[in-house]
Amino acid sequence: MTDFSVIGKPRGRVDGPAKVTGQAQFADDLHLPGMLFAKLLRSPVPHGRIKALDTSRAEALSGVVAVLTGKDLPEKYGILPVSQDEEALCTEKVRYVGDPIAAVAAVDEDTAERATELIALELEELPSYMTIEEALEKEGEPIETLRFGPNVHKAVSLEFGDVESAFAKADHTREDLFFYEGSTHLPMEQHAAVARWEPEGKVTLWSSTQTPHYVHRALAKVLGLPMNRIRVIATPVGGGFGGKSDPFNHEIVVAKLAIVTGKPVKLTLTREEVFYAHRGRHPTLMWVKTGVRKDGAITAMHFRSFLDGGAYGSYGVVSTYYTGALQTTTYKIPAYKFEGTRVYTNKPPCGPKRGHGTPQPRFAIEVHFEHLARELGMDPIDFRLKNLVEPFTYTANWLRITSCGLRECVEKVLEASGFRDKRGKLPEGRGVGFGLSAYMSGASLPVYWNDMPHSEVQLKVDRSGTVALFSGAIDIGQGSDQVLAATTAEVLGLEPEDIHLITADTDLTPIDLGSYSSRVTFMAGNAAIQAAERLRDQIAEAMAAKLDVPTDRVAFRNGRVMDAQRPEGGVSWEEACAVAEAAQGNLMSRGAYKPPELSGPYKGSGVGPSPAYSYSACVAEVTADPESGVVEVDKVWIAHDVGRSLNPTLVHGQVEGSVYMGLGEVLLEEQVFRHGLHKIPSMLEYKSPTTKDMPPIETILVETVDPEGPFGAKECGQGPLLPVIPAVANAVEDAIGARFHEIPITPEKVLSAMDKAARGEEPLIGPTSLPDYHLGEVLRVDPPDGKKVELFPMHEET
């Protein structure tokens, strides 16, 4: 099926009109009769022990309906089963400025806020740990002590192949240190949640969440209710980027308040509070050593990462693994060692931000390889081309690579940008830089162990011929509604607008694990295609009998169903549905997707495997002014292997959005703390690029038609962010010789590099040491040498 009518066509979104006209109902738009408003009292200190908490004055305030403290919600939770370390309201200790301690529900927000100020709170301040080094080295009562030592949340050490002897085979090795400051998501929509106690003894939660199913599970655990007494509805999400993927304290609090008061309760975070909800990019300190032969072939790599996790676990165990897992998906690294350590600090918890754990090492490696190649006397691009992974191979750490358009991405982006004619040849102050990357089209394992599908779709047709599609997937702006409607419409010969979507409502829709990990197009898309094919086959069977032709000659096109050999005949879709319903009863179908078993034979192998990897290559051209220190990006070229572009308009939007976010991280955004709290928790002072700061972007789509993807599609929402950051850093070096082993590249750092150059020092800005922490035990794993790649295509017709 290559003659598509919907797939591959640039078109608008089914959810577009409601969003641009303001009719879409976001969580904060919900107003229920008798609704109460909640506010949280938050910790004013980064680390402290609660000595006394007296809510009596708050309770006595007129208009206050209920006050909760940690005693009311003592059950701990967290997104990962291994990190159940969060409390909806702190019971004994507070771990960051902003950690919630008490909650008030009142007749209006003003009263609720006044009431939080009437709560008497006595805290004993504890030593605070604001950096990776402090967490590992500073004396005092730790934030938490797990089996890896004080303040160490997770430590992992994995070795694939004999790294020491592989380094011994190298003709040249190089080591570099890097620091990635971290950043936050800055979604336009502030998190909001509304809960209502239902007369039948259930609680309903509406929330701006990327993961309604995981919120459902966490609510059950903390509220002590069976899941069937909780309904979670994800409202349209005004930007998530990973920041709405955890179960959050405010969601649990409103649900509990609704139960306690019997009334609907709403809580919308302030912008400041969004910075405290965080779950953003981990500040990461990295060390990388690579061994190469004279001809440029990599023999071994050793990568160490230290992640500043903030106050709680969140996805941190997974984040830690991700800083090591995907190094091998772009370059052939026959022997690879990874050591990752995540520490607790007294800052808002870090978690998954677009690219989850992989932009940091990608920045490090793509800059490191520039130096390494030049030391070897090789062109850095040729060095990379020499080592690129090949499609349909296994990596040393057991990742199965299927379709891979990386080489084509590199070639196309170099050609479009004129990179080879520009590198080293532009006038002083101007430069070009390159970077490449890979990302996952969804993790092949769910967040908690189960062997059920990751995405399910149900279709149902009514007497109007309307196809109702039921899916747990939530559109967070990435376009999942359009993907579901378009894939279904394509199979059924309809238009996306003919599909009525019912999404992300745990009472009504079948599972989708959530809009995270770039998984929805791949997984829910595959489930939708399967459901649509099954529905189509039912109708085809009934129509075959009516048309008196073999079933496989029944065709579905342009809202009509006909004999493929007599396309002028046939009946309308509605009539065909009537024929099928008369013959078979209710018209409905189901589809499901579960990734194949892809994990390698070792502990920790669950992080990294994906049914398919997307690939990106990027060139950035910059002007860097050595006098002012200002770096301006003149243009970005980016090539992205999306498998198949289901809707070029959406794909371009995702790629451009990724470029925007990458540019913010590399040049502007400062996730910095002062006196123990976020320095600038405001949309004005946290400098994310505006439209006026965006350079032109030239996006080149590469289509490799993945054998397992929906119509061959792979992800495009995260991967294209990754290469942008090193491309800019490398371009700055080309422009003015300053080497950045640390981001963001702010003007004063550029000036500092220029000052170093003037003093005859290497103009390098970056970290100079690594903490002295090693996990004793190393898990040694034999690479899957010679393992044959097995494919599990789901549909014949991609």
Partner: protein, 338 residues
């Protein structure tokens, strides 16, 4: 979300009634014109007025009158959009139009007024934060506290003058008209400001700024260079306003003022000495830039490293002056980042 606290709103229809309302309500009252500075500050509880005296019904405050030959009078209530788009201002008082057009964003320029910008509350990233944040970091003397968090040993507040129009008004030697219970007075823009982050205006609480009087434009060349890290939204972290009166190639009058380097806009008086009465050379321009550099003392209370903000004073002053003196081709001037 952040809530706007309750307040009473009065809407007088003449300047006299405004003054009367301010006088009647005393310290509980504040003026609101565009509200783009005031309302966010109220939400963050930096301002806690009980009564707002709205200027929306006082059309006389919005008038732009006069001629470039005699001088132009801009009503304090003219919006930044009206000022930036005004053809006479664009042609004869370029710095005013440019500065007004670089304030914040289009929607805020449609609401915010030139008078409001002149009176904008000095900013500090220890101060322009929501109440719970300020409470956590420890209140500062500008609101609810007693020390300066930027300079803890300091007896005074170091909040930063963050108006784009203020340095321009100094460079143009604009006269400001104030009306209060004691009547009308006019004062030099320079005398409107005090070097204190809290008591930053000489305006009395019950006075209202009604007009900005721009001088005759004959021979006048003006410009404004704004430093900020993004092309929109951001307050200046350095502003350089320059005004030269030219007679042929000779500078007869030179005024240079800096914004966002202190609690008030600061004139670089050396510019008069180095530039007036001659056809300035590149060396003169550098000498002025050096004097400006010495004068600027940015602190760690705004966006951008203070070291960088200070470093940018030299190229910005050079750039602004070279632009006005048409000294070499524009490509040879330092870059402006706004």
């Amino acid at each position: 979300m952040l809530r706007l606290p309750p307040f009473a709103y009065v809407a007088p229809s003449s300047v006299e009634e405004v003054v009367e309302a301010l006088h009647t309500h005393g310290p509980d009252a504040m003026i609101v014109a565009g509200g783009t500075d005031l309302y966010p500050n109220m939400k963050r509880r930096q301002f806690e007025p009980k009564v707002l005296v709205g200027l929306a019904n006082v059309p006389e405050l919005r008038a732009i009158r006069g001629t470039p030959e005699a001088g132009l009078t801009v009503g304090a209530g003219a919006t930044l959009r009206e000022v930036s788009a005004h053809p006479v201002i664009q042609e004869h008082y370029y710095a005013v139009a440019k500065a007004a057009g670089l304030v914040s964003t289009t929607p805020l320029r449609n609401m915010g007024t030139i008078g409001g910008n002149l009176c904008v509350d000095p900013r500090c990233n220890y101060y322009d934060m929501p109440f719970p944040w300020r409470k956590a970091v420890g209140f500062c003397m500008k609101k609810d506290g007693d020390i300066c968090l930027v300079a803890p040993g300091s007896p005074r507040c170091w909040a930063l003058s963050s108006s784009d129009i203020a340095p321009v008004s100094l460079a143009l030697e604009a006269k400001l008209r104030l009306i209060g219970p004691q009547g009308t007075r006019a004062l030099e823009a320079n005398d409107f400001y005090r070097d204190d982050g809290i008591e930053y205006l000489t305006k009395e609480r019950d006075e209202i700024l009604t007009e900005i009087q721009l001088p005759p434009a004959k021979g006048l060349r003006t410009t404004y260079w704004k430093l900020r890290r993004r092309g929109s939204f951001d307050f200046p972290i350095l502003g350089v306003a320059a005004a030269l009166t030219m007679d042929d190639g000779t500078v007869t009058r030179a005024r240079l003022a800096l914004g966002a380097v202190a609690s008030r806009p600061e004139e670089v008086v050396e510019a008069r000495e180095f530039l007036e009465g001659k056809e300035p050379t590149e060396a003169d321009v550098h000498a002025v830039a050096e004097a400006a550099f010495e004068l600027a003392k940015p602190l760690d209370n705004a966006d951008g490293h203070f070291y960088w903000r200070k470093r940018m004073v030299r190229p910005y002053v050079q750039g602004a002056l070279k632009e006005l003196l048409r000294m070499g081709p524009p490509e040879s001037w330092p870059r402006e980042y706004n």
